[in-house]
């Protein structure tokens, strides 16, 4: 297991390195340099400008600048956000944590919806339930997540007007969050997260459900399942232990690849829901041409993704013992 992890770690380094090169390259394509907004700011003196310019090596060629940028980043210095006139990392970190919560809860819902429906569709293949679920899911595939979410919000508004329930409609916390006990705080945040996470999971789950159904069907026809049945294992064991565990291997392998889509998909919902996540801040940063902030978000989320990929590989090794040998 350990050599596998070490190998996995070293494989991630070139990808991360090249991703940072790409991000740096794109940023240096933008008109002006990092200091253009600062020069326009009367609050920043000539002295500071010169210091900044030296610390980022702006007087040197591009590849040297890259190494300065990389070197600073390895020391936890992602540059200064010109919008907030603060170091980037403390500004973006809470946003990233918020987004990660949303994505994690979304993934929980995602699998909680897709796995039972997919297994049901395979076990009761071509039944009325299977067919009607298929039609609904096919229909859901066509909905952009933000549009489905707007529709859900419309119905929530109707329910709120009709019954007076206090269903949260935006943000991450209620107004009186600071006065709540820690357990109540947790419940408050969870209450705000439930609806966006569920809606997001519903739009995404359509694809995965069909995949799980297909994989289950394929495994169910194999000889060892027939053998297991012939030996007299219960139907439940045959499905969940013998079929399901083998059928989900490609899906476990794909969890890492799913994360970029999950984070991006969550972005649209964050904007609609006015959730203090990554994407709303990123959009304002684009309007303000706050390049360090954009680069910081992109670099950190890329790192998180690569970590997520490694985790999914480890998970795969846990589920599929054959991996560890190889």
């Amino acid at each position: 297991m350990i050599p596998f992890l070490v190998r996995r770690f070293f494989q991630a380094i070139p990808t991360l390195f090249l991703a940072s090169v790409l991000i740096f390259f794109v940023i240096s394509l933008a008109p002006g340099d990092f200091l253009t907004p600062a020069r326009l700011n009367p609050g920043i003196s000539e002295e500071q400008l010169r210091n900044l310019s030296i610390s980022f090596g702006l007087d040197k060629p591009a590849y040297v600048q890259y190494f300065y940028w990389m070197w600073n980043m390895l020391h936890g210095d992602f540059g200064t956000s010109f919008q907030y006139t603060q170091p980037v990392l403390p500004v973006i970190w809470p946003r990233i944590v918020n987004s990660v919560w949303l994505v994690l809860l979304n993934l929980v819902f995602f699998y909680a919806i897709a796995i039972p429906i997919g297994v049901y569709g395979a076990v009761r293949q071509n039944s009325f339930g299977d067919k009607s679920i298929n039609v609904v899911l096919y229909f859901l595939l066509g909905f952009p997540s933000f549009f489905l979410f707007l529709i859900v919000i419309y119905f929530i508004l109707q329910i709120r007007n009709a019954t007076g329930w206090d269903i949260p409609l935006g943000g991450m916390t209620s107004n009186n969050y600071d006065q709540l006990s820690s357990l109540a705080k947790f419940w408050d945040v969870l209450r705000h997260l439930l609806i966006p996470a569920a809606v997001l999971a519903l739009t995404d789950a359509a694809g995965l459900t069909r995949v799980i159904r297909g994989l289950m069907l394929e495994v169910m026809r194999s000889d060892y399942i027939r053998t297991a049945r012939a030996k007299g294992v219960s139907e439940r064991t045959a499905i969940w232990k013998h079929t399901f565990r083998n059928a989900i291997l490609p899906i476990v392998a794909g969890i890492g690849g799913l994360l970029p889509g999950a984070i991006s998909g969550a972005g649209f919902v964050e904007v609609v829901y006015n959730y203090p996540g990554i994407t709303p801040m990123l959009l304002t940063a684009i309007n303000a041409q706050d390049l360090y902030l954009i680069a910081g978000f992109t670099v950190i989320s890329t790192i998180l993704l690569i970590v997520g990929n490694a985790l999914s590989d480890i998970l795969l090794a846990v589920v599929d013992p054959r991996i560890k040998v190889g």
Binding site: P14, T15, L16, L18, A19, L22, I23, V26, I27, L29, A30, P31, Y138, F139, L141, G142, F143, P144, S145, F146, F147, L150, I151, I153, Y154, L157, Q158, N161, L169, G170, G257, L259, P260, G261, I263, S264, G265, G267, F268, V271, V272, N274, I278, T279, L282, L283, A285, I286, N287, Q289, L291, I294, A295, F297, T298, S301, T302, L305, I306
Partner: protein
């Protein structure tokens, strides 16, 4: 005794039926796929003739009579007094400020504005060169309040249906254009990697890996931030198309490379080389054509994803910008003035159903094409 297997219906087929005619025959049997195809033809015709179908022009609005978020105007067919059928008409609407809630309210007056078919109105050019000023329907009078808003008005008081119809031109083009562009890039890069191998191969495949490692939304935003915010709206559309194409070519390049590497070793390629065909000819006449079905299927299956992505970007305000409009940017109005005001104007959600319809049709068509080209699914 010989028995024939009952499921084998031997049909008399003319010899030399091409793969495409087989696929076409399969496709025609698939009712769902045909429905998708017909739906797409209809919606593309709608986009083409949008200026004629729409009662107004893309961004004409009155500065004196601001009909911001006017509710849909019901069309009446019966005369209220006699109850007899008449020419369809809408009521003239007047605006009043409700002094209790301070909300502008629209009230129907008794005055009738008859609807005529084929009225002359704002002039337009279909496809940029066929001029006209005929519109399918309209009241044909410029009086304030005499508007036919079949699905309501939008934030600046323009007809939402007109905007939606014009938006279809952009929404239906950008997605398809981006898929075509990314297919070309993907094929080119994949062929490059397979053909030259070595360092080129490593660089291209690493680039694919890196692009897929960065969350696509952030990469999109990062790339968009390279261009200034206030660029020419037309140029902005090309920028979005280019960016979408740039982030989308990776998967195809990977498949192309794999396919070409395996084909390179096959006999017909060696034969072509032995006959003295040039590299160019081998690539274009012998190797790339093996990808045709795969490309047709992935093309049609990846278009819906790109249409969804484009609508998302426009929704975030970095796709189509004023005066141009796409379905996504029309949906962005739903957020104006806080989400709780969505209750008072649910009709701004209507453009979203056009997205759902289009994406659904493309999916049906794509699935149909995939099944039609798949020999295991032949009927």
């Amino acid at each position: 005794m010989t028995t024939t297997a009952p499921q084998k219906k031997v049909k008399e087929r003319s010899l030399g039926q091409s793969q495409f005619s087989v696929a076409w025959g399969q496709f025609r049997k698939n009712r769902l796929a045909k429905t998708g195809g017909v739906g797409l033809i209809l919606i593309y015709l709608m986009a083409l003739f949008a200026p004629f179908l729409a009662p107004d022009s893309l961004s004409s609005y009155s500065t004196t009579d601001i009909t911001r978020f006017q509710p849909p105007t019901p069309v009446h067919f019966r005369d209220p007094q006699t109850g007899a059928l008449t020419r369809p008409y809408v009521n003239k609407f007047s605006q009043q400020l409700n002094m209790d809630t301070f909300v502008n309210e629209y009230k129907a007056t008794d005055e009738k504005c008859p609807i005529y078919f084929g009225v002359r109105g704002a002039s337009y050019k279909i496809l940029g060169f066929i001029p006209g000023n005929l519109h399918l329907y309209g009241t044909g009078n410029d009086q304030a309040g005499c508007n036919v808003f079949l699905i309501g008005g939008e934030a600046l008081g323009r007809d939402l249906l007109t905007r939606t119809l014009y938006a279809s031109q952009i929404s239906l083009t950008i997605g398809v254009g981006a898929v075509l562009a990314s297919t070309i890039i993907g094929l080119f890069m994949g062929a490059l990697a397979a053909f030259f191998g070595g360092i080129v191969d490593t660089v291209v495949m690493r680039l694919v890996e890196v692009i897929s490692a960065i969350p696509y939304l952030f990469l999109l935003l990062l790339l968009r931030s390279v261009f200034p915010q206030n660029i020419n709206p037309i140029f902005a559309l090309y920028v979005i198309l280019g960016i979408l194409a740039f982030i989308g070519w990776g998967g195809l390049a990977r498949v192309t490379r794999g396919q070409l590497l395996s084909v390179r070793e096959q006999d017909f390629v060696s034969a072509a080389r032995a006959l003295g065909a040039s590299d160019n000819r081998v690539m274009w006449r012998h190797m790339l054509p093996t990808m045709t079905t795969y490309i047709i299927v992935t093309l049609s299956l990846s278009i819906p994803g790109f249409i969804l992505l484009e609508s998302g970007l426009s929704f975030l305000g970095i796709g189509a910008v004023e005066p141009y409009v796409s379905w996504g940017s029309l949906l962005a109005q739903a957020q104006e003035g806080g989400l709780s005001s969505l209750n008072s104007r649910p009709w701004v959600l209507i453009p979203g159903f056009f997205i759902v319809f289009t994406v659904g049709c493309f999916q049906l068509l794509g699935d149909g094409l995939r099944d039609a080209f798949d020999p295991r699914k032949r009927q």
